[in-house]
Each structure stands twice: as C-alpha cells, then as structure tokens.
C-alpha cells in the first residue's frame, strides 16, 4: 500500500505535467526550428536557426518583446498597490465571513471575460459615459479607447484577482501575535505594517507579481480590443503570425524566446528564497 500511494502521488501530477506542459512545449520547440511551408500543417521539419535569429534581430519582433516587458513591468506594481489593501482587508475580516467575502470579491472576475471587456469598451468609447463625465466636469473628453491608458486599465482590471488571491492566502496565514508584539514594543500602526506585515508577506507578494507578470507578457486579447493599433506586444504578434500569417515557425520561435523572460522572475524568487 505504501508503494502504491507514493506511486500515485508522483504519477498523477507527473502525467499531468507531461500532457499539458511538456507535450505543448516540445511541439513548440520542434516547430521553432522548422521551415514555413504552404502545407497542412504549415511547416516542414528541419533544424535551422533562422527563425530564432530573425525573431531576435528584426526590430519588429524585438520591439514587441520589449513592449510586452514594459507593459508587464508597469501593470504588475499597479496591481500590487491596488491588490495589497484589498487582500489585507479580506484577511482581516472575521474568519466566518472570510470565504464569503473572498468569493464575492472574485465573483465579478469569474465569468464573461469578453462581456466585461465589452463593457469597458462601452464606457471608454468616444462620446461614451467617461467622455461625457469629462465634458461635464469641464475637463474635455479624454477619448481613452484605443490608447495606452485603456490598455493599462483593462490589464490591471483583468489581472487584479491573480494578485489578490496569493496575497490573501499569505496574509490570512500571518501570525497576528507578531503584529501585536510590534505594537507592544512601541511601533505605531504604519511602522507595524512596514516592518512586520509587509516583510512577512514577501512570499505572497512574489507569487502575486509572478502570477500577474507572466500572463501579461503573453496577453493578446486586451491589447487587441482596448489598446492602440500601434501597440505591438509579443502575444499579439505570436497570435498574428500563427493565425493571420500562418507562419507557425516564427510564432513558435517567438514563444520560445519569451520563455526565459517568463522563467527569469521564477528563478530569481527561488534564488532569493533559498538564500533566506
């Protein structure tokens, strides 16, 4: 029975990983070195580096990569600043309400992603409600749709729950006695927050930042629907090459180049944890 249990414990997630992470990765890896062709599927197997070289040297692809990193680097701290007080508020709620409040907080994010993005389009569109409010206040119509502002708004709104959830998990496990001890020793509330609450939630902060940063790098729907047409982000470019140009090898090469960008923060966090 002991062998069986251990085997199941390892086999189930291992199979899962291979099936849903390993196999796609391997396929992407193979296609990245192939030659585009007008066949079905649209490539011929090969082992050439041209696709990777192109993706790393052509300014169009380079700018897309850089643009994605910039968007992710700006939206992640915004999500952190907005999500931290929300998570702390939830974590401080009485235990019997906590799960209900968490559910209520996450509920709006749960369904109808496209419906919600369309609601934002409705709000932000030229001569829409936001422009009307701007005019009414005498500030002029901000005309936000298809600007970077709309892009950032949409991304922060969409990925906020990915920040709140790990922060909440981390903060709801915090030892309240430590905060009381700091107050007892003479630390006023802001000092307790900065010197005890925040440092002890660093693992949650790291997890939340990764959970936002990584998918934002690959995001392609929000830039398409809300952002400026000029915003060439890497997710959008991969999508375009794959479905638009049917240039699978270039799309795969781009995806392969994005991988280290996604893994860098994971590795950094792991390194930092091991040192501590």
């Amino acid at each position: 029975m002991f062998l069986t249990t251990r085997f199941v414990v390892l086999a189930v997630p291992a199979l899962w990983l291979v099936l849903f992470l390993g196999v796609p990765l391997a396929i992407v890896g193979v296609i990245a070195f192939a030659i585009p062709a007008d066949t079905v599927p649209p490539f011929q197997l090969a082992a050439r580096l041209d696709n990777l070289v192109l993706v790393l040297t052509d300014p169009y692809y380079r700018d897309a990569l850089l643009g994605s990193v910039v968007v992710a680097s700006i939206t992640t701290p915004i999500c952190l600043l907005l999500g931290y007080p929300m998570a702390l508020g939830l974590a401080r709620a009485p235990a019997r309400w906590r799960n209900a409040l968490l559910l209520a907080t996450m509920l709006p994010f749960w369904t109808g992603f496209l419906m919600r993005i369309n609601a934002w389009i409705g709000l932000l569109r030229d001569d829409g409600p936001i422009d009307a409010i701007g005019l009414w206040l005498g500030l002029g119509a901000p005309r936000l749709l298809y600007t970077d502002t709309a892009l950032y708004l949409g991304i922060v709104y969409t990925y906020l729950p990915f920040m709140v959830l790990p922060l909440f998990t981390s903060l709801s496990r915090r030892d309240v006695a430590l905060e009381e001890a700091a107050a007892d020793l003479g630390a006023p509330p802001w000092s307790v927050f900065l010197r005890v609450t925040v440092p002890l939630s660093l693992p949650g902060i790291a997890a939340g930042c990764m959970l936002v940063f990584i998918p934002v790098i690959g995001e392609y729907v929000i830039p398409e629907l809300l952002g400026p047409p000029s915003a060439s982000l890497v997710g959008r470019v991969v999508w375009g090459e794959f479905f638009g140009n049917r240039d699978w090898p270039t799309a795969a090469a781009l995806a392969l180049v994005v991988l280290p960008i996604l893994l860098a923060p994971l590795a950094a966090v792991r390194l930092w944890r091991e040192r501590a």
Partner: protein, 351 residues
C-alpha cells in the same frame, strides 16, 4: 499611587462578558500570578492591560498614569507572548533592539543595551543568530530580553513556560524568579499551572468566569482557600459536607465529630482535607474516621491510597515515600483509621 491598579474592568465580546467589573492592585516590584482555567478571562485581563482588548468599563492605572485610552504602542508595558512572537525575519539582536529603535534610541545605545540584555538572559554572542535556529528555551529567553530591553515598569507574561518541556520548565521557573528580583520590575504572569503559580508568585490571584475569586500569598491560598473552587483548583482536596454547630463540626455522612483549628459560621458547610495531611498511622491525631483501604496509585515520590469511609465517600490519602515503597505495609482491603490534626481541617462555605 505606585504600581498597577485595575478598577472595575469589564470586557465583553458580543453578548459574552469576559471580565466582570474586576479590580486588582499590584505593587511596584511584585511578582503577581493570575491563575485560572481556560475561559476564566485571565488572558483577556492581560490583553486589556497591554492594550489589545478594549474595556467596556473600568480603568487601568500604572504608577498614577491612566492607560485606559492609550493604544498599545504608547503604553510603558511590555508583553511576553505565549508563542514568544519573535520576528522571524530579524536576528536575535534586531528582535531585542526593535522596541528601543522604535522609541527613538540611537543605534550605538541600542547595540549596547542589546549586549547587556543578552548577558542578562545568558545568551552572550547569540546576537547575530537567526531566531528560528534557536531552541525553545533560547527563544523564550530572547523574548524575555526583548520584553525587558526598554526597561518597562510592568512586564506581562502570557503562559511563558507552557511551550517548554517539563524538565526545562522547572529550571526556567527558577531563572524567571531570580530575573524578576534582579530587574525589579513588576511582573504579572498568567498561567493555568498551579505549581508554577505557587512557586513563582509573591501573590496569586485566582480567576474564574471573569471574576477574581481570591487574591493571596501562595501559602494562604493553599492552606486557607476561601471557597471550594480554589480548594480544588490548587492541589487535590477531599470534600466532606459538614454541619457547623456551636460546639464544633459534625460530618453529615457519618455523624462523627470533627475538630477544626478555626471556628466557622453555624449551619451547613464543607470540609476540605488535603490528601497529604491525612494519616493512616498516627494514633495521636484527634480527628479520626474508620474506613477500608480500596485502592492505591503509585507516583514515585508519593503513594496515593483511597479509603472508603462509608456513605459513598472515598477519601484520598497521600503518603510521601520518604522511606521508599517497601516501608508501606497496609494491604488493600484492610480496615484503617484516617486521622488528621485540627489545623488540617479547612472549613469552606457551602458550594
């Protein structure tokens, strides 16, 4: 007035009254122990003094200063938490210096005080250690050093020994008593362990259901409890219903006359008898009840024997094994006489 004064303190959580108009005075430099079972309100009293539980009524005054409205970080009171609550992301020295730095003490002076506190708790050279690497006993001493670093007028200790092993606990108990005399601050310690209370305290306050039942020195509490609850909570006690008459006591079960050293108010009462003050072998003790030996329980230093004196009453008689188990000869089933001297008769009001 010098020392801690608590007046009519009431704390409610929702509909439950945790502390009920409780009053208490602790003198300057006194080692005061709050003793009570779970739910007695002893920890809430400590938290109210520290500033973590808001009172619904009453005042808390320390050395003439009213603390009642002050937030925790403004009170000249420090707490040793039951879990120690050491900051895991700081070194030992940073933990001990935390309070001083927050109070605006400079780096150099803080470092000097930290060294002094480490010496006080015999942890010289441990300043740079990570807190998690310490043993339970060492963590407890760091918590003490941290609590005492800012030289508080009053130190509150919430079951500070409960997380330690039995052997270490007894050792640390002696250290704690010595430390308190050395630093001279008032200590208020919360515990549910009667041995701890009796051996550490200058005075003990026994709490029950948010009320202070009796406040007294350890010997007075043990030898002259003022109610059945205190008699049974501190040590073992045999309880016999008696009738107090003009000429003495009568056991209700057997009708036997009983002599007590102190007179009681006439009417029904309860007699408490400590097992170690009952004898099976003393022909001179004036109080005598006959019975049958029905059981024994060996505890190494003590043998506890149970005697059925009739009327459904079983008395527990504890005999110190100062001559070893071989010296005890009475076999189970034997007829015995349980006897005791008048000053061992503890007369309590009914219920």
């Amino acid at each position: 007035m010098s020392g801690l004064v608590v007046e009519g303190l009431t704390v409610r959580f929702g509909a439950t009254t945790i502390l009920n108009a409780l009053s208490l005075a602790v003198s300057d430099g006194e080692f005061f122990v709050l003793l009570g079972g779970s739910g007695s309100g002893k920890t809430t009293l400590l938290r109210a003094i520290a500033g973590f539980a808001a009172p619904d009524a009453g005042r808390i005054v320390l050395n003439g200063v009213d603390l009642t409205g002050l937030p925790a970080h403004r009170r000249p009171v420090n707490t040793i938490f039951q879990s120690y609550a050491l900051f895991p992301h700081m070194t030992v020295a940073e933990n001990i210096g935390f309070g001083l730095r927050r109070k605006g003490v400079g780096r150099a002076e803080t470092a000097a005080t930290v060294v002094r506190m480490l010496a006080l708790v015999r942890l010289e050279g441990f300043g740079d250690r990570a807190v998690q690497r310490l043993s339970g006993g060492q963590q407890q001493r760091v918590a003490l050093a941290r609590g005492l670093a800012a030289n508080p007028a009053l130190l509150l200790l919430d079951e500070p020994l409960s997380a330690l092993d039995r052997g270490l606990r007894q050792e640390t108990r002696a250290d704690l008593a010595a430390l308190q005399k050395r630093v001279g601050a008032s200590f208020v310690l919360v515990t549910h362990d009667q041995d701890e209370a009796l051996s550490l305290a200058d005075r003990v306050g026994v709490m029950r259901d948010g009320v202070m039942v009796q406040v007294d020195t350890p010997a007075m509490l043990y030898e002259r409890p003022n109610c059945r609850y205190v008699a049974e909570f501190l040590g073992a006690a045999n309880i016999l219903p008696v009738t107090v008459g003009a000429d003495g006591l009568t056991a209700q079960a057997t009708g036997a006359g009983i002599v007590a050293a102190r007179a009681g108010t006439p009417g029904p009462g309860l007699l408490a008898l400590r097992p170690e003050r009952l004898r099976l072998d003393d022909p001179n003790a004036p109080n005598r009840l006959t019975g049958v030996l029905v059981g024994r329980s060996y505890r190494g230093e003590v043998l506890e024997q149970t005697v059925d004196i009739g009327g459904g009453t079983i008395l527990r008689v504890a005999r110190s094994l100062r001559d070893g188990l071989a010296a005890v000869e009475t076999p189970p089933g034997a007829a015995v006489v349980v006897s005791w001297y008048p000053d061992a008769s503890i007369l309590l009001p009914c219920s």
